[in-house]
């Protein structure tokens, strides 16, 4: 409603302008999530070609703009705004007609984009982002780190596994060990059977069929190393 009122008042005095052509348009303040945008008074709408440059400011309604006294020609229309990023348009001003097209930077000037309505409608496509943010300390991110996960797993194996083995029923333990002995007798392939505690205590771990033999072996070798 307000917009039409503005356009009407604009039309009233366009009739009185001195020469050349007038262009009018507005910055679209509606946005998807319903909260209207505001445009600061420093926002400038610029119409430019190699021959001429016209600058227009936002009117008291906070969104419309008018170019007066524009000579016929083909122009780039851009918005200088600190807060928002706007698309650039191509505006062809000729006698009795104003044509507005979308432009993509870098395209040849003869290549016109999609036709846009007139009065010119400029909708900001994004807020301007000037900053980058530092990544702070994040516990969740810490646990995504594979190195940390490996470390944690190792700790679990060091402290929890021997206890689990101890708590097992001796016969059950024997069963498991026999089962594992059938498969590949490798410490790496059989981490369940790998005695991390003794490995860390300075002894090379080997595949062991029973806990006691492995201990006597490792004790022996530890002693021999001392000599």
């Amino acid at each position: 409603m307000l917009r039409w009122k503005v356009i009407f008042t604009v039309l009233v005095y366009i009739a009185h302008t001195v020469s050349a052509y007038s262009l009018r348009g507005f910055l679209d303040s509606t946005i998807a999530n319903g909260r209207p945008l505001t445009f600061s008074p420093t926002t400038e709408v610029v119409l430019r070609s190699a021959e001429a440059k016209y600058k227009s400011y936002i009117r008291a309604d906070g969104e419309s703009f008018v170019f007066l006294n524009v000579t016929a020609g083909s122009y780039v229309l851009s918005v200088n705004s600190i807060e928002h990023a706007f698309p650039t348009l191509r505006v062809d001003v000729a006698e009795n007609e104003v044509e507005v097209f979308l432009t993509h930077r870098g395209n040849e000037w003869g290549f016109k984009g999609a036709r846009q309505p007139y009065p010119i409608e400029l909708k900001p496509f994004a807020p301007a982002v000037y900053y980058q943010y530092r990544e702070g300390f994040n516990v969740l991110k810490l646990f995504k780190n594979p190195m940390l996960l490996i470390g944690l797993l190792t700790l679990i194996m060091v402290f929890v596994l021997p206890k689990m083995m101890d708590s097992l029923d001796p016969e059950q333990l024997k069963e498991i060990q026999q089962q594992q002995a059938k498969s590949v007798p490798s410490a790496i392939a059989n981490p369940m059977n790998f005695d991390v505690a003794s490995y860390l205590a300075g002894k090379t771990a080997g595949p062991s069929t029973s806990a006691s033999t492995s201990q006597s072996k490792s004790a022996g070798s530890a002693r021999s190393r001392k000599h």
Binding site: T9, V12, Y13, A15, H16, T17, V18, S19, P41, T42, E44, R48, S49, A50, E51, A52, K55, Y57, I58, R59, A60, D61, G62, V66, L68, N69, V76, N80, I82, E83, A85, T103, H104, R105, G106, N107, E108, W109, A128, V129, Y130, Y131, Q132, Y133, R134, E135, G136, F137, D166, A197, S198, A201, G202, K203, Q215, S216, S218, A219, A222, R223
Partner: protein, 919 residues
């Protein structure tokens, strides 16, 4: 869709080259000073809520009356010539600006602005000349220099009625009041007079013509509107003791002659509720007011105030008297009672230029460009220094290094004295230094806890640099002949100010002397001042010997040759004056751009001999800009290592002068690279059939072996083009003809191999600069000031001529750091280092290295001032702000605890193993 997907991919591919300002560093490492420019009293409206100004820099601004900050401002294109621009109040919420347009002075732009917000209410263009007078009475009446009066509707700005003066009458001014509109005119045979216009129902017609002074030679005609009388005043040459006055309201007028109490130098007339007040300044500099009552075509003197040295200003029914220490207001009645006063104000030491008052506050302007708002209730409300809006030249001044001043001499003493003496001296020195220990310890912990070197603030009054050399002074030379030093570490606070450095001479340039704290300030008429850059103290002031009569200094050079530092001044007559020490004994080569010719000279045997001239290809070309490499720019690597470990050798000629020329008729541009010793043309590039915006011209910057320039053109793709020219010794890898020899500009060396590439930049660039780090190891950034009131940086690495076009980079090219060519650069707003600041009107940026190799200080000036620091290769020598010292400490602590608990466990286990008792 395909194009968009492709460009998205490219944006991602080049994403590594985009780095932005960290959110926590914004407003911390940078600062911005918003300026409005010099204020003219006739275009300053003082009201209780705001001070609205249209400045000489064409800035329309509204200032807060409480703290003087800018509420809003616009840098307009309109002319700021006093006679052709008028700012008046439209109504209680809007102001009206009528000014001639710069492109065509015959067209007037009239615009009404909302005073509180700066939005536009309405605007319109009027043909028929520049505005000579504007008056508001119900509607807006504008008198144009073409002799037309336009009546505009106050609410919409539409033209309601028009009137043209009859032939032969030249327009002077317009006065509108409730009953009538008077157009003051001048005619050779009729003298000064006015037409009374009547206008109801959209028509304006001249009813009567009233002659007020038969003498057509009347000069300085000024009007005083308001209250019950509209008065014009003028003077007649030869009658310098009298002032002529006339009322312009009725259909008959009488010319009245007023003879002030004493001979006057200047006067202003104000219409007040109690009559016409003439504020007169006498020949001795003292001011007084004379109040006249105008009735029935007669003027009666009712009161004269005592002459005073204070500044006087009249507003409505109040007379303000502003002296250096107090402001008082008096009722302008016959009794002249004192209404209010405030003492203990402190004004600028400079002399008062004008005072313009509202109902309760006065805006006082000083000769040195400072402005103060004083009120009778609070004294000085605020002060603004607007001299920094008009900068001639700016440079960074290094401060003393910490402890340098106190201990350098002492250390030297200790090195040279007898051992025992030196030992005692050292112990004493250390004992003295111990006094600073508590401060140091506190500072250390503060710094450690916050991880921030700014945590220990540098004393603003000291002249010592901070740890990393981020603190420097920026010295500005202004058009008003003053120097201003700004402290970069304290948001641009003034470190010192000096007015009229060169007495009455205008500053042309400032250069650094041998020591970092010496400055040479050179004036147009050959005055040279030698200033201490840390304190602003003028040490000596002298005139250039044998300076030609009527000659003018045009530019100042500073260069080093054979370890000797020279400072020289070029004059309009083509003279080269050496300002420091003696003129050089050896031959020296210079080049100078004179109009559209680049001329080379050799200076030998104390004489300047012309050697060569470079003329542009056709006479329609004119030189738009020129640039040379910064003399302190360093080169660390002679070549560029390619992916296959071969080398392209850089063409490192220190004498490259890049000259850009434009042709206004064919709308083309050209760039020439010239050896400025021999005048040899090294390379030229032409941009024809592109419809270049020649009015703006070409912006240039020269780096170590490259030139980057930008211009706006319409074809083939419309926009700002950014062109890079990389120069190598040869296009063949590993070939180097300058190997093992010093090549001279005079030997016929091969021309450089130039590789060029053009890019499209989204905004209009107003100037280009290259960053300069301490040792030159850090990558280069191109700093561009934009006409969107922002400042952008682009890595030079992105503007590389070797980026592969239309294909993906090969592995070798990837290793070289090349990404696929994309014509579009700078689309990302993260290139903008000025972020949310509205840095209006910057014309130039300068750089200076910090102590840290990674960091470069950037300062931009023009209208606004902006300072920040950039790290073109990331802050590699600085611990990141996100580095968490607490986390590190916590981890160490946790490990210690873990070791404390696990070691007995391991010990027990080992013991058990030895005993063979482990289960």
């Amino acid at each position: 869709m395909h194009v968009r997907a492709l460009s998205l991919f490219l944006a991602l591919a080049t994403a590594t080259l985009v780095r932005a300002l960290f959110a926590d560093e914004a407003f911390v490492v940078d600062w911005h000073i918003a300026s409005i420019g010099s204020i003219v009293p006739s275009r300053a409206l003082v009201s209780p809520d705001s001070v609205t100004i249209f400045s000489e820099s064409s800035v329309l601004a509204s200032l807060d009356t409480v703290n003087g900050t800018v509420r809003w401002r616009h840098l307009l294109d309109e002319s700021a010539v006093s006679q052709h621009s008028h700012l008046i109040r439209l109504d209680s919420s809007a102001v009206l600006l009528a000014a001639a347009t710069p492109a065509d002075a015959a067209i007037t732009h009239v615009a009404a602005w909302v005073e509180d917000s700066g939005y536009l209410v309405w605007d319109g263009y009027l043909s028929g000349g520049a505005p000579l007078g504007v008056s508001v009475s119900g509607d807006v009446y504008i008198l144009l220099s073409g002799g037309k009066v336009q009546r505009l509707s106050r609410s919409t700005g539409s033209v309601v009625a028009e009137y043209s003066l009859p032939e032969g009458y030249s327009p002077v001014d317009i006065v509108a009041s409730k009953g009538s509109i008077s157009v003051i005119t001048r005619k050779q045979d009729k003298g000064l007079g006015y037409f009374v216009l009547t206008g109801g129902g959209g028509e304006l017609a001249d009813d009567t013509y009233v002659v007020i002074d038969k003498n057509p030679a009347a000069v300085s005609v000024t009007k005083a509107e308001g209250y019950n009388s509209n008065i014009i005043s003028w003077t007649v040459p030869g009658e310098s003791t009298t002032i002529k006055l006339a009322g312009v309201s009725g259909s008959s007028a009488q010319c009245l002659t007023v003879t002030p109490e004493a001979p006057y130098a200047s006067f202003t007339l104000t219409s007040s509720t109690s009559g016409v007040v003439a504020t007169i300044t006498g020949l001795d500099g003292k001011s007084w007011t004379e109040t006249y009552i105008y009735s029935g075509g007669k003027l009666t003197l009712v009161g004269v105030t005592d002459p005073t040295e204070s500044a006087l200003a009249v507003s409505a029914a109040t007379l303000f008297e502003i002296s250096k220490t107090s402001i008082s207001s008096f009722a302008l009645t016959t009794t002249g009672a004192k209404l209010a006063s405030h003492t203990e104000i402190e004004l600028s030491p400079s002399s008062v230029e004008f005072a313009t008052c509202g109902s309760s506050a006065c805006l006082v302007g000083f000769k040195n460009g400072e402005y103060v708002l004083v009120t009778t209730t609070t004294g000085v409300a605020w002060a603004r220094d607007e001299s920094i809006a008009d900068v001639v030249s700016a440079l960074f001044v290094d401060l003393e290094e910490e402890g340098e001043s106190s201990s350098l001499g002492e250390v030297l003493f200790e090195e040279n004295a007898a051992p025992l003496q030196a030992y005692i001296h050292r112990v004493k020195r250390h004992w003295k230094a111990l006094a600073g220990l508590p401060q140091y310890v506190i500072g250390f912990f503060q710094r450690f806890l916050s991880g921030d070197y700014d945590a220990v603030p540098v004393d603003p009054n000291s002249t010592v640099s901070d740890t990393f050399g981020f603190r420097k002074f920026v010295v500005l030379a202004t058009t008003k002949g003053s120097l201003r030093a700004l402290d970069t570490a304290h948001a641009g606070a003034f470190a010192w100010k000096v007015d009229d450095v060169l007495e009455s001479d205008a500053i042309v340039g400032i250069v650094q002397g041998d020591a970092k704290n010496e400055l040479y300030v050179v004036g147009a008429f050959g005055t040279v001042a030698y200033v201490n850059a840390l304190t602003g103290k003028v040490m000596t002031i002298s005139k250039i010997a044998d300076f030609g009569l009527g000659d003018k200094v045009e530019s100042v050079l500073s260069f080093v040759d054979d370890g000797m530092h020279y400072i020289a001044a070029w004059t309009a007559h083509g003279q080269l004056h050496f300002l420091k020490a003696s003129s050089p004994a050896t031959s020296m080569y210079f080049s100078k751009v004179i109009d559209n010719v680049v001329a080379g000279y050799v200076f030998k045997e104390n004489r300047l001999v012309p050697t060569w001239q470079f003329t542009l290809p056709t006479s329609s070309y004119r030189i738009s800009s020129f640039a040379a490499r910064h003399p302190e720019d360093k080169t660390v690597s002679l070549g560029r290592v390619l992916g296959d470990r071969s080398v392209l050798y850089k063409y490192l000629n220190p004498h490259i002068l890049a000259v850009a020329a434009v042709d206004d008729t064919t709308k083309s541009a050209a760039v020439f690279l010239i050896d400025d010793v021999s005048g040899r043309l090294l390379y030229s590039s032409f941009h024809e059939n592109e419809v270049v915006d020649t009015a703006v011209g070409v912006k240039l910057v020269v780096g170590e072996h490259w030139v980057v320039y930008s211009y706006w053109s319409d074809l083939p793709a419309r926009g700002e083009k950014l062109v890079v020219l990389d120069m190598y010794e040869s296009d063949i890898k590993n070939e180097r003809w300058s190997k093992g020899q010093n090549f001279s500009s005079f030997t016929e060396t091969p021309l450089p191999f130039v590789q060029g590439q053009a890019y499209l930049f989204p905004e209009h660039i107003t100037s280009l600069t290259v960053s300069r780090s301490r040792f030159g190891i850090t990558n280069r950034d191109i700093i561009a000031t934009l006409d969107t009131a922002q400042i952008a940086v682009l890595p030079k690495r992105l503007l590389d001529a070797r980026r592969p076009v239309n294909r993906d980079p090969t592995n070798d090219e990837k290793e070289e750091g090349l990404v696929k060519y994309d014509a579009l650069i700078g689309d990302d707003k993260r290139f903008i280092i000025s972020h949310v600041y509205n840095v209006l009107g910057t014309k130039k940026a300068i750089c200076s290295p910090a102590y840290l190799e990674s960091t470069v200080l950037v300062f931009a000036y023009g209208l606004d001032l902006f300072f920040t620091r950039i790290t073109p290769s990331q802050p590699f020598d600085l611990l990141s702000k996100s580095f968490n010292k607490g986390q590190l400490l916590l981890t160490i602590f946790a490990l210690m605890v873990a070791v404390r608990f696990t070691s007995p466990m391991v010990k027990r286990k080992q013991l058990n193993i030895r005993w063979g008792t482990q289960k």
